[in-house]
């Protein structure tokens, strides 16, 4: 194991506005349909950025353009300061990619695959270290053909970070992983960030975005509709609380920005207030609202008190 330490990197508080990924007005069409439609995106060095969005929102297409394997129809893209369409080997060596594909030969064991691809990098993480980091110790000698879907994803993750990348793209990395493997993966991502790497991942798991990301970008219909730290996502939407109670056998509901006032009023009356609850929109409610899906989130204050 190597013990070299990186030079101290600027922390989140320091001036770290240096971008690892910078996208302006990105457009990609398939036929007449614009899958990515004027997308702007900044990912700063050293942060974990999650692209969150429903299937077909343009996440994978965007990532593939950033990786330089798909050509955009318009817009400006810089990844580590380079236009991906012109990125050479030296540029690629600084990237790590976990795509949705599975690129390991079926007839090799986990260890053989990692040992083989180690030779494609100048400095590779040791195979045993990678196997431990993704929790495949028990499967190290097993051929890929006999791994489960989740175990193959873990191998892909190991391959993606093998070359000690400065910037890692992960496209739905935890699909098919069980909860234990997912948590192990989160730990690995935190380790990468602690080492100073920049991480851009796509996911449609909200808990994953909330758990890992410094900032979340919500993508819908090929555009970024909001960018914020996970706990500030949809701040306007979250201000609206919902007060519910039962009165005369019917459920009453009030949506308000000041639930305390509503409660004071309710509780000032005689007797009990059955079924009283105060709720705020969950991350999921906010997300569904942002991507335009039907949800239960209130969009405007409504209802009067008696």
């Amino acid at each position: 194991m190597t013990t070299t330490q990186a030079a101290p990197r600027p922390g989140a508080t320091a001036t770290q506005r240096e971008t690892a990924v910078r996208v302006r007005g990105l457009v990609k069409r398939y036929g007449n349909r614009a899958v990515v439609d004027g997308l702007d995106l900044d990912v700063f060095r050293g942060e974990v950025f999650a692209l969150l969005g429903p299937n077909g929102a343009g996440k994978t297409t965007t990532i593939e353009i950033l990786e330089g394997v798909r050509k955009p129809d318009g817009g400006e893209v810089r990844v580590l300061g380079v236009d991906p369409a012109r990125g050479g080997r030296a540029w690629r060596a600084r990237l790590g990619v976990v795509s949705q594909g599975e690129g390991a030969p079926q007839e090799l064991s986990v260890r053989e695959v990692l040992d083989h691809f180690a030779g494609y990098h100048v400095t590779s993480r040791p195979t045993e270290e990678l196997i431990a980091a993704v929790g495949l110790e028990e499967k190290a000698g097993t051929r890929i053909a006999r791994l489960s879907g989740g175990q193959r994803r873990r191998l892909e993750v190991a391959l993606g970070v093998q070359g000690r990348p400065e910037l890692v793209f992960l496209d739905e990395p935890t699909t098919g992983m069980d909860p234990v493997a997912r948590r192990q993966f989160w730990e690995l991502i935190r380790g990468l960030r602690a080492d100073g790497a920049t991480v851009l991942l796509t996911t449609h798991y909200l808990d994953e975005a909330a758990e890992l990301a410094d900032r979340v970008g919500v993508i819908a219909d090929g555009r970024l509709v909001e960018v914020a730290p996970p706990d500030q996502l949809g701040a306007d939407l979250r201000r609206l609380a919902r007060v519910r109670w039962t009165e005369d056998g019917a459920v009453r509901e009030v949506r308000t920005e000041s639930p305390a006032a509503v409660l004071r009023d309710l509780l000032s009356g005689p007797g009990d207030v059955p079924g009283l609850t105060v709720t705020r929109p969950s991350l999921e409610d906010v997300y569904l609202s942002l991507v335009g899906a039907p949800s239960t989130v209130p969009t405007a204050p409504e209802g009067d008190l008696r």
């Binding site: 600084r94 007839e107 083989h116 790497a197």
Partner: protein, 280 residues
């Protein structure tokens, strides 16, 4: 708890990635390992020429080919050439189509693998498997069917350059043909069908001069005919040359046609090679 990866990435100023030659060497090793682990491919590549020799010797063993050459003598040259086509053109064309379809090439692309290193890996595999296949076929023909081997160093040298040039031509053509549109399964079927027809046209089973001239002319466009003819020049006695179409072995032309295919094939490969199936 989980092992967190130590050792941070070297920020910028990275040394250059490993050279294409080093990756090519690694790939030769990998390709060979994979080849011998896929039983189907091993059986098909190695057994096909041997089984064909056994079957055709049993049925036509008493026949003679132009110039009073015993059938088995004539056929060994043809089936050796066919074997080279199998381990090069057919094996490479089908394996690349499959690797492209299942995402192995995508991984190589994302790693920034130089395409030339990938091709070199395939070529290395072809040369080793072709040598192994011939090392199986020739002794069998010699000891079981009394087929004479090349009589002297000069004939062995002819055998060697024809085999190597033929294998390289097959490799680049395999790479080129793997770029055809369609699924890996349909590319595989297409390649197999083409290879079978080409064997009949190229004088593997029948005396080449006994074929209709349109077949001869068609076959002359492709490498297998020249590969087969070159093999005959290594295995058959000098007098047999009189029964070739040109009345001689045409070594110069054979070398020229095979080399042209290698060069044309390489240019086509570089221009049409894709890591992925058609871009959306």
């Amino acid at each position: 708890m989980t092992a967190v990866l130590p050792s941070p990435p070297a920020v910028r100023d990275r040394p250059a990635p490993p050279s294409a030659a080093r990756i090519a060497l690694r790939r030769v090793g990998l390709e060979l390992k994979l080849f011998f682990r896929e039983r189907q491919q091993v059986v098909f590549s190695f057994a096909y020429p041997v089984i064909m020799l056994v079957i055709f010797a049993a049925v036509l063993g008493g026949d003679e080919r132009p110039g009073d050459v015993p059938f088995t003598h004539y056929f060994l040259a043809g089936i050796a050439a066919t074997g080279i086509m199998l381990t090069s053109f057919q094996a490479i064309g089908t394996s690349i189509a499959t690797e492209r379809e299942n995402g192995q090439l995508e991984r190589l692309q994302l790693l920034g693998t130089p395409p030339v290193a990938y091709f070199a890996g395939k070529a290395g595999q072809v040369l080793v498997t072709t040598a192994a296949q011939l090392a199986l076929l020739l002794p069998l023909a010699h000891y079981a069917y009394d087929v004479p081997m090349p009589p002297d160093v000069q004939h062995w040298l002819t055998f060697a350059w024809v085999a190597v040039l033929g294998a390289l031509a097959g490799t680049v053509l395999g790479v080129a043909v793997s770029a055809l549109r369609g699924s890996a399964a349909s590319v595989t079927t297409g390649i197999s069908a083409f290879a079978i027809v080409l064997q009949f046209f190229s004088g593997v089973f029948f005396g080449f001069t006994e074929l209709p001239s349109w077949m001869q002319q068609t076959a002359a466009l492709f490498p297998l005919k020249w590969l087969t003819q070159g093999m005959r020049s290594a295995f058959l006695p000098e007098e047999a040359a009189a029964f070739e179409v040109a009345g001689s072995w045409e070594h110069g032309r054979t070398a020229l046609v095979l080399a042209a295919w290698v060069i044309i094939g390489a240019v086509v490969c570089v221009r049409t090679f894709r890591w992925r199936r058609a871009d959306g």
